[in-house]
């Protein structure tokens, strides 16, 4: 009789199998923090030919994750903002200066995130990290911070936080045009053993499930982001590297010209969405 017993057990197991719907967030939810409503949906910028509406990644997360970002106390990314505010006033380097010595209050950084990455006076495209390290080495006479160091992440998070709620508005014409074209080319080029371009997931399939992951538009208006998976804040380049590695391609270094160009293009796809830093994602 053991055979019958097994069959019976199997039948019970099958009967008990229920298709579990993935835990999707509320895509019509409004992102309100401290009474301020952030723009999570906007008309697509003119240069985007294939889409009519851009959506913040916040809309694609589960309602629990959405809730963490809606309360600054619950949001662990705010720990980095606090740390960044402390660093802002720390005197370092041979010149005996802190960030505050030249820039005054950290609030003076409002709007900076919306413009990043940005072409500097020598015609090179720089990410926010490049500007910070340039200040440190050239003006303060201090050592450059590592791209993904805690100090750098705290500083970029705090500076970006000053622009929270302001719409992204990176420049894509003029001197920025060649970098933007390079980034656009990368975005639409299939790469890696899996032969995916960024667009295959984030333009053709956003809203669909990639196994357990609810695909977003891959917007970066929320960066630096507190990612639950990382148990910490991470840079845009860290995220881009993760995506490229997922296609099983050789990836680029943090701070490389390629990733900065891609960052500019991806940022331009979010022109019009609010800066959310520090956002919370899974």
């Amino acid at each position: 009789m053991p055979g019958y017993t097994r069959k019976a057990t199997l039948a019970v197991l099958l009967a008990g199998t229920v298709m579990v719907a993935p835990a999707l967030g509320d895509e019509s939810a409004e992102l309100v923090i401290d009474g301020e409503t952030l723009i999570t949906r906007a008309p697509a910028p003119e240069h985007m030919e294939n889409m009519s509406e851009i959506m913040s990644g916040w809309l694609f997360r589960s309602s629990e994750t959405q809730a963490v970002q809606m309360d600054d106390f619950d949001n662990p990314g705010m720990l980095y903002v606090d740390e960044g505010l402390d660093l802002w006033n720390v005197v370092e380097g041979e010149a005996g200066e802190s960030c505050a010595s030249c820039h005054g209050d950290a609030e003076s950084m409002a709007g900076v995130r919306t413009q990043m990455p940005h072409v500097n006076e020598n015609g090179e495209l720089w990410a926010m990290e490049d500007y910070i390290n340039n200040c440190r080495t050239e003006r303060m006479g201090a050592e450059a911070w590592g791209w993904e160091s805690n100090e750098m992440l705290s500083m970029t998070t705090m500076i970006s936080y000053q622009s929270r709620g302001m719409p992204m508005d990176v420049q894509i014409d003029g001197e920025a045009a060649p970098y933007w074209e390079q980034g656009r080319e990368m975005y639409y080029t299939r790469t890696g053993q899996l032969n995916f371009s960024c667009a295959n997931c984030h333009e053709d399939n956003y809203g669909n499930m990639l196994r357990a992951d609810h695909l977003s538009q891959g917007q970066i208006n929320g960066f630096p982001v507190y990612r639950l998976k990382w148990a910490g804040v991470g840079s845009i380049h860290r995220r881009l590297r993760g995506c490229i590695t997922d296609t099983r391609a050789e990836t680029y270094g943090r701070g490389s010209d390629e990733l900065t160009a891609l960052e500019l293009y991806v940022a331009s796809r979010g022109n019009g969405l609010s800066v959310e830093a520090p956002s919370v994602r899974n």
């Binding site: 106390f73 619950d74 662990p76 720990l79 606090d82 805690n150 148990a231």
Partner: protein
């Protein structure tokens, strides 16, 4: 441990005997002692092993924390405030360091 940063938010009681919501968060890596570094050596455990909340010297909650608790431990609970006074929150690190935060209650 350096760079550890406690955060506390407590509702304000409006009368004696009111129940208030308490939220606490502390930045800490909570290294479990189970992980190995790139060379295969065990990374030593360093966690916050105890968290307490007292009100006017009286223990409100006393929590033993084990290595499975993740980075940046967060606790939320309700407490009854019997008279004006202050909360004292204390976190105990494996390395012997103690971090504290306070919150005053009056109405």
């Amino acid at each position: 441990m350096e760079g550890v940063r406690p955060r506390v938010r407590v509702d304000n009681a409006t009368e004696a005997g009111a129940s208030v919501e308490v939220k606490t968060l502390i930045s800490h890596p909570m290294e479990s002692g189970q992980r190995r570094d790139g060379d295969g050596n065990l990374i030593p455990r360093q966690i916050i092993n105890r968290f307490t909340a007292e009100y006017n010297g009286e223990m409100v909650i006393d929590i033993a924390i084990d290595p499975a608790v993740s980075t940046n431990p967060y606790f939320e609970f309700d407490a009854t405030v019997p008279e004006p006074g202050s909360f004292t929150f204390t976190w105990y690190d494996d390395d012997g360091d103690v971090y504290t935060a306070t919150d005053d209650q009056s109405w």
